[in-house]
Symmetry: C2
Subunit: 119 residues, 2 copies
DNA sequence: TGGTATAGTATGAAAAAAGGTACTGTAAAG
DNA sequence: CTTTACAGTACCTTTTTTCATACTATACCA
């Protein structure tokens, strides 16, 4: 992707996480319970089937998510986090924490601005 | 961005990091030394002026990067990481480490595949 | 007088990501 | 006999991101 040595690992790590819905998918799967396709759909009400499929395939290819097909009709497919995928857990948690703090900070700033404006 | 409560913080955190060149920009600024616009350009040889400008503006708006204009001619503008921006350091480092491990794992898998193929 | 360096902006084109809608086959429920 | 659930695929459109090129003003250097 880039030739600059020593700094492209951020990018590599992030490719596994980045995508409009990937973090949310991972968040749910990291709860531990395998989820069926339509269960995930219900948990991400605004995602399209297409996008969910695409992201799951990507995550599967990276062995972060495992896909198990039960040969039934109607079909049943379960998605779950792999053990390797679990290694993303602390990373996502850290991002989550930073995100929470970042939002909080923004709120404080805005409140501050309101206060000094009306003074 | 999304209404789903409790999981959008990943997204918030990542917006501060994501973008084709943001991690690399941050990587360089996190070294501590303020850098001029064209110094950054030289460090990211493939970025266009436009993209560098856009990303720096974004990072500035989030107060992760500080922009100092020296009223000189020819112009001089220095970019540096803010104290707040420093709080991203451990997050990026963790992503970096995961990225390194991820690459290594991929390499091993490929080597493994080669080995069993030629057997 | 022309070239170089600085830190950009403007404009339009191309590429990538995401979204929308329709459609598939099968079985069970009503 | 129609509808629903399931787990998708196919095809096309829209949005977002990135790229490429040209252009700005000013001062210094030769």
């Amino acid at each position: 992707m880039q030739k600059n040595p020593g700094q492209c690992q951020f990018v590599v790590a992030m490719d596994s996480i980045v995508g409009k819905w990937k973090p949310t998918i991972l968040y749910h799967l990291l709860q531990g319970k395998p989820l069926r396709f339509n269960e995930l759909r219900r948990l991400l009400p605004d995602i399209t089937q297409r996008m969910l499929t695409l992201y799951l395939r990507e995550l599967e290819e990276e062995e972060i998510v495992k896909r198990v097909v039960y040969p039934q009709i109607p079909p049943k497919v379960e998605y779950s986090i792999t053990e390797y995928g679990m290694s993303l857990s602390p990373v996502l948690e850290m991002l989550h924490r930073w995100g929470v703090a970042h939002i909080e900070r923004k709120r404080l700033k805005e409140a501050e601005n309101e206060r000094t404006k009306t003074d």
